[in-house]
């Protein structure tokens, strides 16, 4: 067990090539994604990413209010990322968005401004809500990954399905998907969101110390991890339809019957 605040000493994060939770440098934590978890929302998704538990929901498109926020050419996106006060193993947090959450809300909104086809809904707003119910490092990346699936289930057209992942530097090793303890003591942390079809980086933040080569390696690792994450996203989107297909396997649809007539 590692007690954080009380110890100034940095724990050994990599021992014999293995990270504290047994992962190799390039390994993601286990990720599972479920769609349509908030019945009232137009689209929603729930992601468990390691010990992170995050719910994302999309409402809209609807009339942009207050009116001065509307753009006659395109939809506007409004985004709220917030952490529950019981999300961490430590003290009780503050309720509602703080400065950190406000910044994450902004960069998350900017991700979706890149991929949502806003010009289809002039004068309207699309709301994205990301609620972190339990946090264990990398919540903004996991939040965007879930929000992208939520947006896709809403049926609002997108040009791509972005994914997020955080890359870090521990000593001289570049590692994928920092957890909370690693994030606290790592030498650098680079959360990224990538739009895989367009091969564009839509979110990039960094703090710590990294060389140019480190950053190039981080981007390569993020893209590689993205292959796994993108597949989990599309599998989650496909799952409810596969269930229905399985259920009605071999039965003729009314469409088939019409064709036969």
């Amino acid at each position: 067990m590692i007690t954080m605040a009380s110890s100034q000493e940095k724990p050994q994060l990599i021992v014999d090539g293995k990270r504290l939770d047994g992962r190799d440098a390039g390994d993601l934590r286990p990720i599972s994604i479920q769609t349509n978890v908030v019945k009232n929302a137009v689209g929603s998704a729930y992601i468990e990413w390691g010990n992170n538990k995050i719910i994302a929901a999309v409402y809209g498109p609807k009339e942009a209010l207050p009116k001065h926020t509307a753009n006659p050419e395109r939809a506007v996106i409004k985004c709220r990322y917030a952490m529950s006060p019981f999300s961490s193993l430590e003290d009780h947090g503050r309720t509602g968005p703080n400065r950190r959450a406000t910044e994450i809300s902004k960069v998350t909104r900017e991700v979706f401004e890149n991929v949502v086809m806003l010009e289809k809904f002039p004068g309207s707003e699309i709301d994205i809500y990301v609620e972190v119910l339990q946090a264990d490092g990398g919540t903004r990346a996991a939040g965007v990954t879930a929000a992208a699936v939520a947006m896709a289930t809403s049926g609002i057209p997108m040009t791509d399905l972005p994914f997020g992942v955080s890359i870090g530097k521990i000593g001289e090793t570049i590692v994928v998907d920092l957890n909370k303890i690693e994030d606290n003591y790592s030498d650098a942390d680079v959360p990224m969101v990538i739009s895989p079809r367009q091969d564009k980086i839509l979110l990039l933040q960094m703090d710590g110390n990294m060389t140019k080569d480190n950053i190039k390696e981080a981007i390569d690792l993020a893209k590689k991890a993205g292959e796994t994450i993108s597949k989990l996203q599309s599998d989650a989107l496909r799952a409810p339809y596969l269930e229905v297909m399985e259920k009605y396997k071999g039965e003729k649809s009314s469409y088939d019957e019409k064709q036969a007539d």
Binding site: K39, A57, L89, T95, G96
Partner: protein, 260 residues
């Protein structure tokens, strides 16, 4: 869907003795209670009541005693109507509805002494503070009962951190938060002249009056009448009888969820 057509539809159903989902007037929707869904929190519970979904999280942290209660710990309850839970919930500071919800749940839990606050005393300067946060994840009516169940279950299943050598220990082998008894509530709505239990969002939007009765096995612990209309003394007395009958099922469900 607050419109005349929905109102007519709900009224017509109630006059025929049924409801949108085929329930009887005094019947609850399907209920599931899951404790421990958020293991970082000392206690947690998710309650699904029909399509209403709430999550309670409990954090137990080091605090200072209140001046008027120097020998016991503190309890703080708050409720968040998350903007993702319904199209009409807005981001921002807690609405009067959210504050009323938290205060009504708090009063029941406090009056029933669910948390054994004197046992949360450490020293004259230090006591444990228990924070209960009620998170509404999907709104389909009757938040009062769902939140009371979630808060009670989360508290009853919460672990107790240790305070040793000026440090709080939150992991490893820990005991349970000291609690007593079991609380639940029954909330009635007066809709189109009918008194019904466990209103869904549509029914709730047309309710003239609302009454929440929180009780344990023996006594009533908290009550709250809400909205513009009223109830006759006879109606209140009937609702009290129904509450003592119905609440047994809820307490059984809570006990079953926490393995007691």
């Amino acid at each position: 869907m607050n419109n005349a057509t929905t109102y007519d539809y709900i009224t017509e159903l109630l006059n025929k003795g049924t409801r949108e989902d085929g329930r009887e007037n005094l019947e609850y929707r399907a209920l599931s209670i899951k404790p421990g869904t958020m293991p970082n929190a000392e206690g947690s519970a998710e309650v699904n009541l029909g399509f209403t979904r709430v999550l309670a999280g409990v954090k137990v942290v080091l605090g200072e005693p209140m001046q008027d209660r120097p020998n016991e710990g503190n309890l703080a309850m708050s409720a968040e109507l998350l903007p993702l839970a319904a199209a009409h919930f807005e981001p921002g500071p807690p609405s009067p509805e959210a504050i009323e919800l938290a205060r009504v749940v708090d009063r029941g839990i406090r009056a029933a002494n669910i948390v054994d606050l004197p046992k949360l005393f450490i020293t004259e300067e230090k006591v444990w503070d228990v924070y209960v946060d009620l998170y509404v994840l999907n709104y389909d009516g009757n938040l009062f009962d769902a939140c009371t169940m979630a808060a009670t279950t989360a508290l009853k299943s919460a672990r107790m951190p240790k305070y040793e050598n000026d440090a709080v220990i939150r992991e490893g082998s820990l005991g349970k938060l000291p609690t007593k008894g079991l609380l639940s509530s029954c909330t009635f709505g007066s809709v189109a002249g009918h008194i019904i239990l466990d209103t869904n969002a549509n029914e709730e939007s047309f309710a003239d009056a609302r009454l929440t009765i929180a009780n344990d096995e023996t006594v009533v612990r908290a009550m709250q009448k809400g909205l513009g209309g009223g109830f006759t003394p006879k109606e209140v007395s009937d609702m009290l009888d129904i509450t003592f009958e119905k609440s047994k099922e809820i307490r059984n469900a809570i006990n079953k969820s926490i393995g007691e």
